[in-house]
Symmetry: C2
Subunit: 295 residues, 2 copies
């Protein structure tokens, strides 16, 4: 039986101090029409989102995702989300999840409806796809030029780098291009050769006993799963650092992973055709940690 759930939400003002927002939620059938054709999310990708992993009915790291939703809203000049309301909506959605297995809850905050209410908001939820193969066998990456140089984020905040917007057409096109080239996923590199992120995941590299991820300088999305895994690695006594990683340095990596909220840790088995060894034991331990209840 497939789990699907959706909740329309009337967004409350950020300073609305209600302790119960249930009356602002309406559960809807995900297969039925719920959005009007004037939705600016649909006409212009004008809004933001988060994808939260669900494990055995528990929404993982909800706070980190809510914080990032608020951060994206600021970058996009959207009204500040009422995080207590969103938290309650996430909990209500997770309460409908199967008690066993993995799922995903998506939070969407849209600019609103042309000629209508603004902003609009909803959550959708579903079972997660089966990610056993990428978690165990790894993913093959190809590097793709993101077109932007590494100074663009600081210079041009209207490019919304660092915001998780609904305008993901380029991210989806990059994954299609990667598959056309016989790989599984893409790895974006800036036009001046700095390694960035995957279209829907963060990159973690291992050099010897040091774990490294591209520096969060505004040009990439701060990864909630990367951050969680770094905390875990530090607890285990590993060194985990943020660095500027030139493309040429990829060849020196001993191992690599793409990490994200639902696929979790996928070891990288090749970059641009260059094989990387997949550490099955370490990858499995990462995923055991990521599948444990996290807040």
């Amino acid at each position: 039986m497939t789990w699907r759930y959706a909740l329309m939400m009337v967004p409350a003002a950020a300073d609305d101090a209600r302790t119960d927002f249930a009356e602002t939620f309406t559960a809807v059938d995900p297969a039925f029409p719920a959005l009007s054709v004037g939705e600016l999310s649909t006409q212009r990708g004008d809004g933001i989102f988060e994808s939260i992993g669900v494990v055995d009915g528990h929404a993982q790291e909800a706070e980190a995702h809510l914080d990032r939703l608020a951060h994206s809203a600021r970058l996009c000049d959207l009204p500040a989300p009422n995080l207590a309301q969103w938290r309650e909506a996430v909990l209500q959605t997770a309460a409908h999840a199967p008690q066993r297995g993995e799922g995903v809850i998506k939070l969407i905050l849209s600019r609103g409806v042309e000629h209508g209410p603004t902003p609009t908001a909803w959550l959708t939820a579903a079972d997660a796809p089966d990610f056993t193969a990428p978690r165990e066998n790894g993913v093959r990456l190809v590097t793709l030029d993101r077109g932007l140089d590494s100074g663009a984020a600081a210079r041009a905040p209207w490019l919304l780098l660092g915001a998780k917007t609904l305008s993901y057409a380029v991210n989806m096109a990059a994954i299609r291009e990667a598959k056309r080239r016989g790989a599984d996923d893409a790895l974006f590199v800036s036009s001046d050769g700095i390694v960035l992120e995957a279209p829907t995941a963060s990159l973690i590299l291992r050099f010897g006993d040091r774990f490294v991820t591209p520096a969060h300088d505004g040009g990439i999305l701060p990864g909630t799963t990367q951050l969680s895994l770094f905390e875990h690695l530090e607890v285990l006594g590993h060194q985990a650092t943020y660095e500027t990683i030139p493309h040429a340095r990829l060849a020196a990596a001993d191992a690599a992973w793409l990490v994200s909220s639902v696929r979790l840790a996928a070891p990288v088995s090749a970059i641009d055709g260059m094989p990387l060894s997949v550490d099955r034991e370490l990858s499995a331990s990462f995923n055991r940690y990521l599948l444990s209840p996290r807040d």
Copy 2:
């Protein structure tokens, strides 16, 4: 009385040779829910669109917009649209327009619905806003860095430059930034200083008796209104050319216009605070032409 109209469409295969597609259309109330929460247009801005001007019930330059829809579909790996079906949908929508006045018909082709039908398609229509002020008094522009260099389109087709995708969050953010700076609209410039386009319009400059628009080298959207106006200018005996325009050359322009399908020709009254003279008579003649029935 405000005109609003919407049509859901079951997209036909490109080679479907039916002569009547009426049974694939369903008129819907634009204010009522018509789209499911799983729509990939809304979750990822993953789809394409066109905005067609309507004047006194006539859809302007429908063929040029249909051709560009097909071009965008190719760039985005979407199924080729059945142009006969879209043409009929545009005509049916225009037939419901008021017999007098200006309107806009938006065509949307989405990647489809997660766990559902793919692709999905619909049209929305409404009265146009009153653009008398920008057409007569002009618009003040600020140049904004697009982050991408002028070689990006050729080098990285997955950036979808030249496709009119639904991922317009950056375009909308650029207009907000322009307004924050006290201007009316933005003018994108490549990171290496080449003038591109406005977020929702093409740029035409006048140098002496020559009209110039940025070269269509894949980095900008080919403008249907710009093309139509260039044909008109050539009929009138003017020279109209496509050129690579460095940012510094803007200062040498004698006049400039933003042109688009619904706002039509808006003379530019200032760029980055530098005043440009507004030729009211020529601008009015452009708009008289653009408001005449065009096919």
